[in-house]
Amino acid sequence: MFKIFTSSQSGDLNIVAIWMFLIFVAVTLYITFWAAKKTQSTNNFFTAGGNITGFQNGLAISGDFMSAASFLGISGLVFLSGFDGLIYSIGFLVGWPIILLLIAEPLRNLGKYGFSDVVSFRLDEKPVRILSAFGSLSTVILYLIAQMVGAGKLIEILFGLPYITAEIIVGILMILYVTFGGMLATTWVQIIKAILLLSGATLIAFLVLNQFDFNLNKFFDAAVNTHDNGSAIMAPGGLISDPVSAISLGLALMFGTAGLPHILMRFFTVSDAKQARRSVAFATGFIGYFYILTFIIGFGAIILVSNNPVYLSNSGQILGNNNMAAIHLAHAVGGNILLGFISAVAFATILAVVSGLTLAGASAISHDLYANVIHKGANDKSQMMVSKYATIGLGVMAILLGIIFEEQNVAFMVGLAFAIAASTNFPILFLSIYWKKITTRGVIIGGSAGLISCIILVILGPIVWVDILNNAQAIFPYKYPALFSMTITFFGIWFFSITDNSKQAKKEKVLFDSQYFRAQTGFNKKRIFNH
């Protein structure tokens, strides 16, 4: 099936890739060892001591965000249908100004480890933290499954390792980084990986464009002439079939980014709101540049991979699947060395992203559920213990879920994770920062309704109901639920807040002004925080 990997090249390939990967693992484990000494308190575990600079955090954020799924998935989508890949790229990117303008500074000023701190700032802590933890954990776990399954398949192809071995290696390395090195080690893993991925992708794009003398006209001409769909690849195609889906997907991508717990968590690693702003500006620069590269890579693969027999099976299909387009292209323009490098980078990317996700999940379990709900007033030592056990638990769960879902189509899970982030995490965070009249009752009813409707609409929609459960017709006709579930959340929060006349609700409204002052200024952060 995988011709290039069974030919004489495969020996070279594996050696280059494996050496590069081993060097990456050695460096990152050394960093973990160094970080472990500095990670003695819960605060250090989740925020790296708050001493990361804006530039470093910008790189780390882009490392968190540029997953193997988006590198291989978007270039694969461009390879398959051209323009459509750009819809995803731009949707993912447009979430960043939203985070910058509306979320980053208040989040940094009000929170300690995560967005749940902000939502529970003036609302009834227990129920609100439970809801936020559910929102975070469902986003993290869905994302984690998608990454783990993708990782296993990729490593199986690139390194020739059995799927289960790949899952176990990824799981164990991730547990080591996070348990011992906490946020500090995770941050440096992200930074190194971001630099590797950006340089690898730049090199591929450079080598591709070099073949066309950096003339975009010539480049796109060649792609249109090669692709079966001809000039149709330069315009929207099959990804979006109707207006509702287009708008729904657009909303999920734009607001989902602003509700991803592993991204929001990164704003607590910097010293203040000013550095938080800088982080986003750098991250947006890197991520936007990266999406331009994936676009060039996808088009490059149309020209250089899609009719080169080396990368095609006997029936003319691309080896592996569309997601392998970038990997094949690396080989086509840079030979075995670049292929090995990109394979190692893809592996590193997976490790970095699953580490960030696991850390966010551990924060929801230990900070929200354990230290503020189950065992209020728990001391730092026991919270640290719970954080580490939660990390190990999530790591083991990721390995098991990765194995269970091996044969399933998991691509929809990232979409669902974004939809949940956009329908639960983002609205409760956004409204609790800016809307005075929000109450605990509104958040709990609206937020849960959004979370539940999101999951139900995806199950009843075409992807799960028809493609996975093999029913003839979907009960809910659209692939993307966000337009509906976000409406439900916002309406639910609004309605059940304004009709809430309880004593608690009155108290919550009174507290808004001081919260708003603190959100905008960061005033007295250290003194007030021990409430």
Partner: protein, 91 residues
């Protein structure tokens, strides 16, 4: 609440900076999405007899707009907002 006047000044400036930037983020993006939703054919027109379609050029312009907005905000915030925040925190 401490520094009421300064705080009002801060909020005023913030709104003045954030609202237009938010507008120029969301409106171009929604326009882009709506063209995809309602007039996908429009994006297939080529620019000046080249092989680059309007859709691709507008997509790239949108990426540049997003960059400019984030940089502009950081610049404006550091220049006009940060000094007021510093004042409030020092009192």
């Amino acid at each position: 609440m401490p520094n009421k006047n300064l705080f009002n000044k801060l909020i005023g400036k913030k709104k003045l900076i954030i609202r237009p930037l938010l507008f120029f983020t969301i409106i171009p993006y929604l326009t882009f999405i709506c063209i995809i939703a309602f007039y996908p054919k429009y994006f297939s027109n080529m620019i000046f007899n080249s092989s680059v379609s309007i859709g691709i050029i507008l997509g790239l312009i949108l990426i540049i707009i997003i960059w400019v907005i984030t940089l502009l905000y950081v610049y404006l915030a550091n220049k006009y907002i940060e000094p007021i925040i510093k004042k409030i925190n020092n009192v």
